[in-house]
């Protein structure tokens, strides 16, 4: 069974996982599925699409910051690759 992630708005390019996810787990975010390429802890964000470096990370349908490096679908998105807009 796929792990569950919650995507709040159709514009979001990340979703929040409701349980710890391991490498290789299939994650279902309300119809969009990605395979985890790294572990994502419960409550963490997983990228649903490719997000180029410098591009907005979107949650709640709003920008929550910019990718500080290129992020691939299935990667964990947190303070190591997401920064606030200066």
């Amino acid at each position: 069974m796929a792990a569950r992630a919650i995507r709040l708005d159709p514009r979001d390019n990340v979703a929040v996982v409701t349980a710890d996810v391991r490498v290789g787990d299939l994650i279902d975010a309300g119809g969009i599925q990605v395979r985890a390429t790294e572990p994502v802890p419960r409550g963490g964000k997983v990228a649903l699409t490719a997000i180029p470096s410098g591009e907005p990370v979107v949650r709640y349908g709003e920008e929550i910051g910019l990718a500080t490096q290129a992020i691939a679908p299935g990667q964990h998105v947190h303070t190591h690759n997401l920064g606030g807009r200066k």
Partner: protein
């Protein structure tokens, strides 16, 4: 439920209705804290507030302290109050009584330096409080409705789920309350940084939008001055551990507590709303200072969401605690009233919002919240300058 959202409260001389009928013993200055603590030990039915204010500051902070303490006395949940001062402080009993000149509820004052010291003052305050408790117990009840309620909204110890479970569930309850004519105060300007866009879209008019932009821009500037390059991460360590990455992410989740109603007014700290519906108050993100400001503005109840498990209550207003996840609800069962983590296991936001509204009604009808049972009371007034 909206057909019968009524409760038996206490009508105050200014027309507002309380859902509690507290006898408040309030020091005007930190130096009276020991006296009020002693009175609280002797009379557990009295509400005492210990605080570090009343002296050592100047200018705008003295004004904020006066306005806030006066607002707390005027809060409709307070039936009557006894002010206890030392005698040489700027926020004196006489000055606070002058600010409260139009207040018609039972109000007494006593000054330690004129009463023979701490023990004699405690004895006299105890006698005054016994008399006041008898007077308050005889006050008639009067029916109130949703339109008589002002509810403060707060989050403390947020986690990544706060913005998708507890906060939007509170937002659903607020939408219902506002539709019935009630008022809700959204605060914590620090937690609006990065969320200005969605807030401006909800401003009722251009004036409200301009005020929102002004308070959020100013708070962002202050945050940058204090934190420098870390400003974008103005998060507590617990926030980051739980999965929140940026202040904008936390803020966007935070403002969902306000629901979807138009924002009608922007209030200064401790300022009483002049409109019904959803209003915003300019407060720090620090929860103790934020809820104190909203209670001073007249909020009779506080709905407080938490992901990490805050136990905070407030001396004169019941605090309803809503957890963002079921683990913390179970781990802090003594402190949390409602588990919005059920949204993660299949309940809808509307269902949890309905639970919150139903509990608000029971609390207005007299049921104690867990924070009231625990007497977990925090109180702090927002300050703008250092102590002198």
């Amino acid at each position: 439920m909206s057909g019968d959202f009524t409760f038996e409260g206490w009508r105050r001389p200014d027309g507002r209705i309380g859902i509690r009928n507290h006898c408040l013993v309030l020091p005007t200055v930190v130096c009276a804290a020991g006296v009020v603590r002693e009175v609280g030990r002797r009379l557990p039915d009295v509400v005492v507030i210990e605080h570090p204010h009343g002296c050592g500051r100047a200018g705008p902070d003295i004004g904020l302290q006066l306005k806030t303490l006066a607002g707390i006395v005027e809060n409709p949940n307070v039936g009557g109050a006894i002010l206890v001062g030392l005698g040489c402080e700027p926020v004196s009993v006489g000055l606070l009584q002058a600010v409260l000149a139009d207040n018609k509820k039972p109000l007494r004052g006593i000054v330690i330096q004129e009463t023979g010291g701490s023990q004699k003052t405690a004895d006299k305050v105890e006698a005054m409080a016994r008399e006041m408790l008898t007077e308050l117990a005889a006050m008639p009840r009067e029916r109130g409705a949703a339109a008589d309620l002002t509810v403060a909204l707060e989050c403390g110890g947020s986690d990544t789920f706060s913005g998708m479970t507890a906060n939007p569930a509170v937002g659903k309850a607020v939408d219902r309350l506002v539709a019935m004519g009630g008022t809700a105060i959204l605060s914590e300007t620090t937690e609006m940084i990065g969320a200005l866009g969605p807030l401006l879209r909800r401003a009722e008019n251009a004036e409200v939008a301009a005020s929102l932009k002004q308070i959020v821009d100013r708070q962002e500037e202050v945050t940058r001055q204090i934190l420098g390059p870390l400003a974008d991460r103005a998060l507590a360590p617990g926030n980051v551990e739980s999965g929140l990455s940026t202040i904008a992410e936390k803020s966007l989740g935070c403002i969902t507590k306000g629901g979807s109603s138009p924002i009608r007014e922007v209030l200064g700290y401790a300022q009483r709303p002049s409109k019904q519906g959803l209003v915003v108050m300019d407060t720090p993100g620090y929860d103790a200072e934020s809820i104190t400001g909203m209670a001073a503005a007249g909020a009779q109840a506080i709905i407080f969401t938490t992901g990490r498990g805050s136990p905070a209550g407030f001396p004169i207003a019941p605090v309803i605690k809503v957890s963002s996840n079921s683990e913390i609800y179970r781990a802090m069962a003594d402190d949390i009233d409602i588990d919005a983590g059920q949204v993660l296991s299949g309940k809808t936001l509307d269902e949890v919002g309905e639970e919150i509204l139903a509990l608000l009604l029971r609390v207005a009808r007299g049921e104690n919240t867990k924070a009231e049972v625990n007497r977990q009371e925090v109180f702090a007034i927002a300050q703008t300058h250092q102590a002198l």
